[in-house]
Each structure stands twice: as C-alpha cells, then as structure tokens.
Symmetry: C2
Subunit: 344 residues, 2 copies
C-alpha cells in the first residue's frame, strides 16, 4: 500500500505526478518511483465549468500537491492523467467524457495542461490507469499478466500482458464490461443487451432491486435511501441492507456475483492470466467476502481445471489511489503519451 511522507529532496529524478479525474472530484498526487505519495491534493471537479476551467483546476491541484511535497515543477518528470472516457493516448485528445459534459468531446487535454504547467503530460483511460497502479504497486504486483476489473456504477477493466498495458488497435482494449454474458439480457448503458456491466455492476444490482420492489417485494432499501436522502442506491446503502439480511438486496447481489464470476471465467478462458484484480466501489464496501462466491463460479467455468486456484482472484489494494498512482507511473515511464505507444 502506498504511504505518504515528505520528500527527502534526493533522488527525485523519476518523481512524477498522477491525476485521477473523476466526475465529482479530482486528485493530484506526487509519486516517488517506489509508489510513495509525497504530496497530494483532492478537490471538486466542478464539471459544469467546462473542460478548460476543469483543466485549470487540475493544474492548481498539481501545484498544491507539489507544494505539500516540498518540490518544484522542475523536480518531476511529468504528469499522467486518468480520464473517465475514451481518448487517444498518442494525440492526447479526449474523445468524449459522458460524466464531464460535452465540452470534453475532442478536447486536447494533454496539450492544454502542458501549456499551463510547462511539463510533459500523458493521458489514458481512468480504468486502464487504475490497472497499471494495481499492477505496479497493488494486488497485481509481481505478476506478468493480470486483468483488473473495477465494479461500481459501471464495470470497467484494464489488461496487463507480459508486463505491459494493452491499449489495443483503436485504444479501446479492456472494455470487459461490454462482453456479452447473457444474450438478450437486460439493457446496458451502451444500449445493447446482456453485457457484463448490465449484470454485475452496482447499477445492475440497483435495477434488480427496484424491479423486485416495484413487484411488491419488501426491502429495507427504500427506508435507507430516504434516511440517507439519496435517490440512487449507493454501495453503502446496499451494504447496510445486506447487513440487515434484506432478502431482495441479497438476491440481487448474489446475481451480480454470479455474473462477475462468469465474466472472470470468460477472461481466464480467453487470456489465461496469472491474476484477476477486482476493485471499485462495490468491492470497497463489501470487502473480500464479496469475492468468495465469485471465485467458485469462475473456476467452475474454466476449461482448464488444472491448477485452477493458481489463477488468483484478489481484491484491489490501492483503493482511491489506484488511478493517481497508475497515472504517475505512466508519466514516470514516459510512455503511453504522444512519443511512444502501446507499452507501459
């Protein structure tokens, strides 16, 4: 796990800054080569201000994090940013960010931030960046091949093979949330049916709970949502309902676990990696116990049953920091940006 401490001002040559840009908040972290966080700054994204203003907020957060670390801009090799949407790491241009608004479509984030900071900037997808973080400093360290799956509002992934992040021919590798598991199943956020995201995300659990409640089944979630003043079923509310042995939520969670197991089996049968690292809001709330039934379903569907338990299915370790750490690693390695492609 990454620790936070003051920089010693020596051996700074590969210190880099990682930024995790989210729809609600953004975080900038100054990261040493060993994963130590030397300084960090978290602030609201304020997406309503638009792409240019948010980029300025990123630059301000970076400046604050550097100050906390006792470092100047010339002490770091560059900045990596994890962005919640498709983008082109080679040009540094964001394709679109549904959670951040229309001003991000075609926005040259790397170039804009470079002008503000006078530092090289590398961008990549937030989920892939999280996978790089977990691979380097988290649950996937010491593996050559791993697949990270983040389960939250959506379901995203990042694939590391032979120690390298797989970006793909069109920069869209790792979209495991859109692998079909139940043809003609429930509608996904992408409007097609039966994808993993529509079956195993927090949103999928929420949809199933709402269906059961609207069919007249009793659940404590309605009261809990009212109590917490929320219109969406957060992982926290689902967790409280599970702890209260709510039968509706329990059933919906079991279904999501089943489909997550099937998704993992599909990934393992396809790529045969060393480890599957599972993170995201749902795992943060439910903990390792969430994975036990997932492992059983997954292993049952492996075509190669030999050494099935050697393929580790483990919980992510870096929590909120996986994105910022992974983004800093991209910057440290000077890859993924507009100079070189495909490898990290």
């Amino acid at each position: 796990m990454a620790k936070k401490k003051k920089a010693n001002k020596t051996g700074n040559s590969h210190i880099a800054i990682g930024v995790d840009l989210g729809g609600t908040s953004l975080m900038a972290a100054v990261v040493a080569p060993d994963g130590t966080i030397l300084g960090e700054c978290k602030r609201k994204t304020k997406a309503e201000l638009g792409a240019v203003a948010v980029t300025e907020r990123i630059a301000q957060a970076i400046t604050k994090a550097l100050k906390q670390a006792g470092l100047a801009e010339e002490d770091v090799v560059g900045v990596g940013v994890g962005v919640p949407g498709p983008l082109d790491p080679e040009t540094g241009i964001v394709s679109r960010c549904p959670n951040l608004g229309a001003s991000w479509s075609g926005f040259p984030l790397a170039q804009t931030l470079e002008k503000l900071l006078q530092m090289p900037v590398t961008i990549d997808n937030d989920v892939r960046v999280g996978a790089v973080g977990e691979h380097t400093f988290g649950a996937g360290r010491n593996t050559q091949d791993m697949i990270a799956i983040f389960v939250g509002t959506g379901l995203g992934g990042g694939i590391i093979l032979d120690g390298k992040l797989r970006r793909g021919f069109r920069h869209s590798a790792g979209e495991v949330g859109h692998m079909v598991l139940l043809a003609d199943g429930p509608v996904c956020s992408c409007l097609e049916r039966g994808h993993a995201e529509a079956l195993a995300s927090r949103t999928a659990i929420e949809r199933e709970v709402l269906e059961m409640v609207s069919n007249g089944q009793d659940s404590v979630v309605t009261a809990l949502m009212h109590e917490e003043g929320r219109s969406a079923m957060s992982a926290g509310i689902l967790g409280r309902a599970m702890e209260a042995n709510d039968p509706v939520v329990t059933q919906a969670v079991e279904h999501a676990q089943y489909y997550l197991g099937l998704l993992i089996s599909a990934c393992v049968n396809c790529l045969d990696p060393e480890a599957i690292v599972v993170g995201g809001g749902v795992l943060e709330r439910f903990g390792d116990a969430y994975l036990e039934p997932v492992r059983q379903v997954a292993q049952q569907h492996y075509i190669n049953q030999v050494d099935a338990e050697r393929v580790r299915i483990v919980r992510a370790e870096l929590g909120d920091h996986s994105g910022a750490l992974g983004a800093a690693i991209l910057a440290q390695r000077g890859l993924g940006g507009r100079s070189r492609t495909k490898t990290v």
Copy 2:
C-alpha cells in the same frame, strides 16, 4: 496462399517440418521460410494403435514428405507438431487428447519423436498453431494483433498480440469456445452451460436442428444424412440443406451466426485487435457469405463504434494447411518448445 514446389536445394537453413495431427488424419509438410510447401504427406492417424505407434506414423510421414521435397533430415531446422488437446510446450508433454485416446494422457510426444528423428521437436495446441499459420501466411498477415476462431465440431481460438502467440500462464490461452455468451444456455462439451462452443459450433447447429426435427418440424437433413449414410450432420450436409432453403437448418445456422458475432464482439471489446480470422470446417463449406451477418452482430456490440469497420473480420485463407504451416513456423523460429516460452 502457400504454394507447393520443388526445393532448389539452396538457402535451406530455415526449412522446417510442420505436422498437423488430427483424430482421423495427420499431415506432415516441409515448409520453406516464405511458406512454400516443398513436400507433404497425408495419412490416416489410426488413433486406435496408441500414442507410440501414432508417433511412429508421424515420423514415417515426415520421412516421406522430406523425400518428396528432395531433402534430407539435416536440411531442416526441426519439427513442429500441432496436437488436438492441452499440453505443455515447455516440457513437450501432452496433457490429454480426447479424440486420440487415453494413451496420450501424459505422453512425452516431443521427446519420443526427437528420438525417432534425431531432430528438435516443438509441440503446441493445434488451434493455436493454426492461428500462427494464418497470422504468418494467411488472412492475418501484416497484422500485429489478431484472434483466430476455428468453427467446426468444436470452437477453438488462438490469440496473437504484438506479433506473438499468447500461450498463457497455464498454457491455456485462446479457449474462446468456452467464453459464456448465454448464461444457463445449452450444455457445452465441457458440461458447463452457455459457452460459445455450445451456441456457435457445427455441433450446436446440429443440436438445434435435431431439437426442431424431434419437435415435429420438417427438414431435409434427415433424408440427406440417410442418402450420405452419415449419423452426424456434417458441414457438407448442412450446406446442402441451406442450398435447398431448408427452414430448420436456416434458422439454426442464423442462430450460430448470431452467437459467433457476439463472441467476436466480446473478444474485440476485451482486446481490441486488428483482425478476427475465422476458419474451420463450417467456414470452409459456407464461404465468406457466412460472415456477413456475423459482422453485423459483432459491430453492433462494439463499445467503441469509431472505425468499427477497421477491425477486419475475415475468412481464414490457408484451409487444411493452416496447422501444418503454423507448426513449421514454430519450428523455424525455434520457439515455443522447451528452450523458450510464450513468444513465437
């Protein structure tokens, strides 16, 4: 497409022998570095004789193919064998071959064949070897990343990423036939439900046709099977039924095409390759027309719709020779065997 011609006896330094070992027949081919087949020998496998005798038959076929090429054993760098079952390329030991019998379980094929031939022998899975053939000399040439899917009695695959064959942590990568597409769907050969092989293979088409016939629907297949004296629904029979506009076979084939499209979309969303190369008995019989509805379903499920048509979904080009050519490439490159691993 590989051509067949006599060796010119010069520049033989990377000539290799590729063997495609099947349940019914085996083929040995002497292959020049440019893919030219200099000599070949095809003969019955006679699996009932057991692993040792079949290995002797492989050695005899190799000797005949060399004679046809006008070459001696010292003119070739080694032998590659594609084997229909799981195995360990590092030890050269076959794990099992359901189509060849129990004597293959744990059989040291590479070592046994090396003793008979006094040449280095490399072994790998037949489907992965076919993928290497298509990548080097077939429909996937000039790509860095491609996935080969072979649709026949079963449904197998081979994955090439960054120009290298992906073998996987437990040597079982590429088993795309066992990716779940319809949770709780029909039972697969592996006894789990809803895998691609249970939905998109020739066997899946056969199962659905039989179900419809036993439910009282009329189909010409019954008469065709009787006419050809067959107990199984070969791709040839299915093709004749399609040409006769048989509604039962047409429906079953359309379902198989739909699920093949879903499988391809899952692979593309996961790995974002440049090309998907589809081969095997069903494609050999039905031709390129088989792929048109497959492409439509696949593209509809891509999460990245940008440049969707740049991901080529094409028919394999090497037909029966993909395995022998791919196996020869393994031997030419001197990889995949017990000296080095993972890369081709």
